[in-house]
Symmetry: C2
Subunit: 465 residues, 2 copies
């Protein structure tokens, strides 16, 4: 990169926050997406919205890509510097600015780790329910950028349902708020919701106002083994039809649990060979009696399926162990084999059709898959395992299979991504979910916000558009 630009960047953020060494560039050149690495030419770590504004103005002047970087836990390659340029890490904007107990809101900077945000508001008796599996390392800003979900979305909704207002540096350098700090808002177009899930292509988020809830005091957690995976999927929808809204309803194929137990030490869950899948079911609230009554009702629903003995987590330790297992699945799969992960989502009743279809498609193209995810939302993570596949087949056959899986999700009234975003690795499947007209409207919005296409270019939109 032109030394003049480096010098200008140093002038903006200070010499010690501009990095051009290979190690730093490599480190900021990947997120958690497969084994992909696209190093930027330079990594900058601004301290404020004003500095970010100056950086994007400079980037416009020289037409250099700027990729906003959060916790680098993304699973769709949204933070990859695929065209080089400037990696703009938000990590120094890491303060919780205000916990507004009177209005049940929190104002935070983007680089606060989600779990730290949750724990900090919990100390005040407040609850931020959105709970991505990566909560221990992901940033709240990245959660907003990808519209992250997680295990509790089934009852509490996803990130978009908590974002009231955003301070954003636009790709052209202006700093705006997208809305107001109110629970309701019918004042102009909803720029807030347009920014949520825009994957760092429409603006760089510098402040976030989130709605909070009063905390729940109790929960009941159970792990239910199913002899047939299809029945586990069917049970998901049956539980809702019985009038119960669990706070989590997670599906895991046996391999997912199996690999995870081998990968993470110290969790004692008996997993029989004859079991195809598990559901991890949680109900929460303030009244233990009610929760036991709801657990009872769930058990009645489950009686019509072939299940093995239910494990009730009867201590905090056991609950933590079960959640640690569930949260560890992604990493365990990754440790087991080269893989690709898809983030399919369908209306929840269609889950058995989706799971069945995935297995048929896998057989057709010669790949194995391990599926798990937020079944209560109809959100199934499909991990396609390279295993013993040849490199050649991995390259040519798998993309065809993925295309068929996505075609199936769309046919089932679902779509490509429930919570990971499209980013880099799914962009060339967007034609399955959208017509050219729809994509051109989205692209038109991108051009309106970012006329020089400097902010996170090469993401979301198919190469052919």
């Amino acid at each position: 990169m032109n030394p003049e630009i480096i010098a200008k960047l140093q002038g903006i953020v200070g010499v010690s926050y501009v990095f051009t060494d290979e190690e730093t560039r490599n480190s900021y050149g990947h997120d958690e997406t497969e084994d992909l690495v696209f190093p930027p030419q330079v990594v900058v770590k601004p301290a404020s919205a004003a500095e970010i504004s100056a950086i994007v103005i400079l980037a416009n002047e020289y037409t250099i890509p700027v990729v906003p970087i959060g916790g680098r836990t993304g699973l769709s390659g949204g933070a990859l510097s695929i065209h080089g340029g400037i990696a703009l890490s938000t990590e120094r904007l890491n303060r919780i600015l205000e916990i507004d107990e009177k209005n049940l809101q929190v104002i935070t900077e983007p680089a606060v780790i989600t779990q730290i945000l949750q724990d900090t508001v919990l100390e005040k008796g407040l609850f931020y329910p959105v709970d991505p599996s990566s909560r221990g390392s992901c940033f709240i800003g990245g959660n907003v950028a990808e519209n992250a979900g997680g295990a509790r979305a089934v009852k509490y909704g996803v990130t978009k349902d908590y974002v009231l207002n955003l301070e954003v540096v636009l790709p052209t350098g202006e700093i705006i708020w997208t809305g107001a700090n109110t629970l309701k808002n019918s004042t102009g177009y909803n720029l807030t919701q347009l920014l949520v899930g825009s994957e760092g292509t429409l603006g760089i988020i510098t402040k976030i106002v989130l709605k909070l809830l009063p905390k729940n005091h109790h929960n009941v957690l159970m792990l239910v083994p199913f002899f047939k995976a299809g029945e586990a999927c069917e049970a998901v929808s049956a539980i809702f039809r019985a009038g119960i809204v669990p706070s989590a309803l997670e599906f895991m194929e046996r391999d997912a649990i199996d690999w995870t137990l081998r990968f993470i030490d110290g969790i004692n869950v008996p997993v029989k060979e004859t079991i195809e899948a598990h559901l991890l079911i949680e109900v929460d609230g303030n009244y233990p009696d009610i929760l036991f009554a709801e657990a009872e009702k769930i058990m009645q629903v489950l009686e019509s399926f072939e299940i093995d003995e239910i494990l009730f987590a009867d201590s905090d330790d056991q609950k933590n162990a079960l959640w640690k297992m569930r949260r560890g699945v992604a990493e365990a799969v990754k440790a087991n084999s080269v893989y690709k992960e898809e983030d399919t989502v369908v209306p929840r009743y269609e889950l058995p059709r989706l799971l069945e279809g995935i297995k048929i498609i896998g057989a057709k193209y010669g790949f194995q898959s391990v599926c798990y995810g937020h079944a209560g939302d109809g959100n199934l993570h499909v991990n396609i395992i390279k295993g013993a596949m040849t490199d050649e087949n991995w390259k040519t056959e798998v993309p065809k299979g993925i295309r068929e899986i996505f075609e199936l999700t769309v046919a089932l009234k679902g779509t490509l991504s429930g919570e990971h975003g499209i980013g880099y690795v799914q962009k060339n499947y967007m034609d399955i979910a959208f017509s050219d007209k729809q994509l051109l409207l989205m692209k038109g919005i991108k051009t309106l916000f970012d006329p020089n296409n400097i902010l996170n270019p090469g993401k979301i939109f198919p190469d052919t558009l």
Copy 2:
């Protein structure tokens, strides 16, 4: 209007669905906004998205405004044909297409009356919680267009929180779906949320996919009289801080109740002269014991305020009477005097500051106001009463006062409209909430969708933009 265009419209929708008589034009020339009437040149009543598409393509050809019309219950003038042209009534798209019990969803056309939708899904044990006061006559399509709220938003959210997917006729004639029928979606920009609340300026909604909940079986309703209106506002926030999320928390100044009781027959609520305001508080759920415990907790919170005797509604009839009273306030105020209604919204803890400020501003500009609304959301409807004001002062002083009220809401981190939309009557206050850059981004989106500005022109954006 050019007879050639009329003939073409007749060709599209059939002769019997094109109206140019004065009575029909006048009737479709108003909604519930003040006493404003802007008759269109022609009223058309298409039967399908395809017919609507043909109409907007024709309108583009001749550059004629098209104003989408729903139940005509709007309070911001969004359905007024301020530039004449074609009033496009959606009233024939009035079928509930599918109640998907398996996925807890409903697919509906836009001209279904909200209460009919609620009642129909309730028969299947399902719950559509969004409950605007006009639910007996408003259309669900209009609710989506304005992002309607209502009494239960405080616990259940507003229309936007239930819209999963929309079929929309774009201003250029293409028919698209905005998303997928899934609870989660991180696939491209959120066109669904961009359309919700866009007030008929970005597209004409022809199908709506809504999320439903399992129905609640019980509720407890109480009416709490406060000697001081400011204390009623303070109590709102105190209830939430005690960890309770009521399903409704409505505020009414004494005049609002007083006028309503005189306007609606057969409701027996004692209203003392010494009472300044009431809170109507509802909690709901499936377990009566829990609800009584929550009501008990609320009463403990209320002990620290100066209140008179609480009225518990102990029968369905009494509950209905109290809700009839609350829902009748707007009409009662309207019957009492010429008025203007503003739909202010602030973070809920700021309500006492807002109410106090409104009274001070009223005194300064010589107007009385009656305030009521969804206090749990911080959403206060401000009815400015003409009463004995001169026409001159009504014309010159009131707009200044409104401007100051909006400046106050924005200073309190709130905004102009919580649930009514900006439409025609608030558009020239938009500069208070937004900078030129923000407004130009919104306007840019409008132009992207509607290059010839044919769809509901002259709404949302200030005349000076």
